[in-house]
Amino acid sequence: MTDATAVADPAPEPPPDPAPQAQPPPGAEPAIRIAGLTKRYGSLFAVRDLTLDIPRGSVFGLIGPNGAGKTTTFSVLASLLTPTAGRVSVLGYDPARQPREVRKRLGYMPDILGVYDGLQVDEYLEFFASSYRVPKARWGATIDTLLELVDLSTKRTARVNSLSRGMKQRLSLARALVHDPEVLILDEPASGLDPRARVELRNLLGELRAMGKTIVVSSHILSELAEMCTEVGIMEKGVLLASGSPGTIRDQITEHRQINVRLVGGEERSYEVADDAEQAALLRRLLDDGEQVLEFTEVGDGLEDLFMKITTGEVQ
């Protein structure tokens, strides 16, 4: 490890990994398993050799610039597109061969919002409840629960075309939940939302995760993904460049961690360590030397910094 000169303005702390919720039993099959997924249109590879496991009960964020292959990946998972090569499994079912089984268990919210303007909110959800073969006797209770979950109870009899964009996004999420799926695929759910609406959506996703659902979400707002995701994947030009928790990705691409230390009296120092052992040894050494340590903080790249380091910014 090396000593560095004291820094006047320490780098912002990385957002903490979200607190783990109820975890599936160890060894449980991943909710989504992707092995060598490739989707090609002529000479263009929309997705190239993607391999990824998404654990049950996790919130997985897929990040990438436009044209990275996120929506194509989601379309394959949602049984809309057939892969050119590779194997995909959603809760043990292949979306290409068993689309009905996947659709019973998966809710998909595409990035472009389309609703039936001529319907009321409750009629809209009734239509999709009917389309998902939800028993009619359960429609009332299901719609009540969903509207309360997405905070649209007061808009039950309002026309869909009278809703704001944020309300339509929440209604679209309610539509994806109408058949109580185990897995949710959300493509840019916060797109076009104002800050308050984004916070509300983030809280809503937290509630869904607490209900045990597996959520796969894509977004361009990296700070939000960092706050709500247990794991992330970074894609560019159809290729998965890195995946894992933000901390794991950081360790993969940076050789050293930066440790900021603040001592009594205001002195601030910065050190570089290679791993947990060196970090622990540094703290022990400082205390053994009689230093009065007020703060001992790992400073790492945020998700945005990681994204900028990993990707090249080129699009296909």
């Binding site: 249109y41 379309s75 394959v76 949602a78 049984s79 809309l80 597109l81 057939t82 979306p95 290409a96 689309p99 009905r100 659709r103 019973k104 998966l106 998909y108 595409p110 472009i112 919002l113 389309g114 609703v115 039936y116 001529g118 319907l119 009629e123 009734e126 239509f127 999709f128 009917s130 389309s131 998902y132 073969r133 009619k136 429609w139 009332g140 679209s172 539509r175």
Partner: protein
């Protein structure tokens, strides 16, 4: 929408709820009935210039013929425009993908749209029954002919609805689907007559004198299908409707050399085989269109649908 406890296609139910809201359906229905009422009045005024009670039946038959013809024209005008919106409209509104990831099959989605178009068509037809009953009351048509004519118009509308909806599955935009659907209608109505006319001209130029060109050349013409059901070959004169003109056009000129009266098909109208062949052709086209359109909508697919 949950009040009716019947297992109805969800797409059909949704379409009917949306269609019956707002004033558009009311406006279309009113305009449709206004046009047909004018046709009825015009046909009656033209045909009623006689005190001969034996001619009253001809007046009634003329009323029925013209009313049914304009019903057919309005169906040819309204159905393609409505059905062409079926899938292309869902694509434009970005509502097709949420439908495709439900448990509805491609056939259910497409048929729900077609049923909705046909339901609208049936609304128009039922609304026309009081006007048609006037021709029945005047006389000259049987109740079987009235019901048969209405059924034939409905059948043609259903078949065109299936074809237009299938076209809609191949286009990204409603405008393209509408243009192609109306193009198909023109091909079936005027195109078949053009082929028939060209055949006749070629025959004449070669000096062939074998009567009219074969009637199967106009088998796909919607007018032919309805004429096959309601035509009776009688040389009515004076109160001829377009169905009678069509019969005179396609039937061979066969006349009794002594009396000058039409004989054979000219007397009896288009043979039943023609009617059933035309119905069979439209049924096959409609079934093929639904099969093709369903296949087009099927997911997962190699490309976005």
């Amino acid at each position: 929408m949950a009040g009716i406890n019947v297992n109805v296609n969800p797409v059909l139910r949704r379409e009917m709820v949306e269609r019956m809201r707002g004033g558009r359906t009311f406006v279309i229905l009113t305009a449709y009935l206004a046009v047909l009422s004018l046709v009825l009045y015009g046909a009656y005024e033209v045909g009623r210039n006689t005190d001969d009670p034996t001619q009253t039946a001809l007046v009634g038959r003329g009323l029925f013929g013209w009313l049914l013809f304009f019903m057919l024209l309005l169906v040819l005008f309204l159905v393609p425009g409505t059905a062409a919106n079926a899938i292309a409209g869902e694509r434009e509104r970005q509502t097709l993908v949420p439908l495709q990831v439900t448990l509805l099959s491609p056939q259910q989605i497409l048929l729900g749209k077609i049923y909705a178009a046909v339901a609208f068509l049936m609304l128009l037809v039922v609304a026309t029954m009081p006007l048609l009953s006037v021709s029945y009351l005047v006389g000259g048509v049987t109740i079987g002919e009235v019901l048969g004519g209405v059924a034939a118009v409905l059948f043609v509308g259903l078949a065109l609805g299936c074809l237009s909806a299938a076209i809609s599955t191949f286009t990204k935009r409603v405008q393209g689907a509408v243009v192609m659907s109306y193009g198909l209608v023109l091909l079936l109505t005027l195109g078949t007559l053009a082929v028939w006319g060209a055949y006749a001209m070629v025959d004449e130029s070669r000096g062939v004198d074998e009567g009219n060109p074969p009637s199967y050349l106009v088998l796909a013409n919607p007018l032919a299908t309805v004429t096959g059901v309601v035509g009776n070959g009688t040389d009515v004169g004076g109160n001829d409707s377009p169905f009678d003109w069509f019969e005179e056009l396609v039937l061979p000129d066969e006349f009794n050399e002594f009396t000058g009266e039409p004989t054979g098909d000219a007397a009896n109208g288009l043979p039943a085989s023609f009617m059933w062949s035309s119905i069979g052709l439209y049924a096959a086209l409609a079934a093929g269109a639904v099969a093709l359109g369903s296949r087009r909508l099927r997911t997962p697919a190699p490309t976005e649908r």
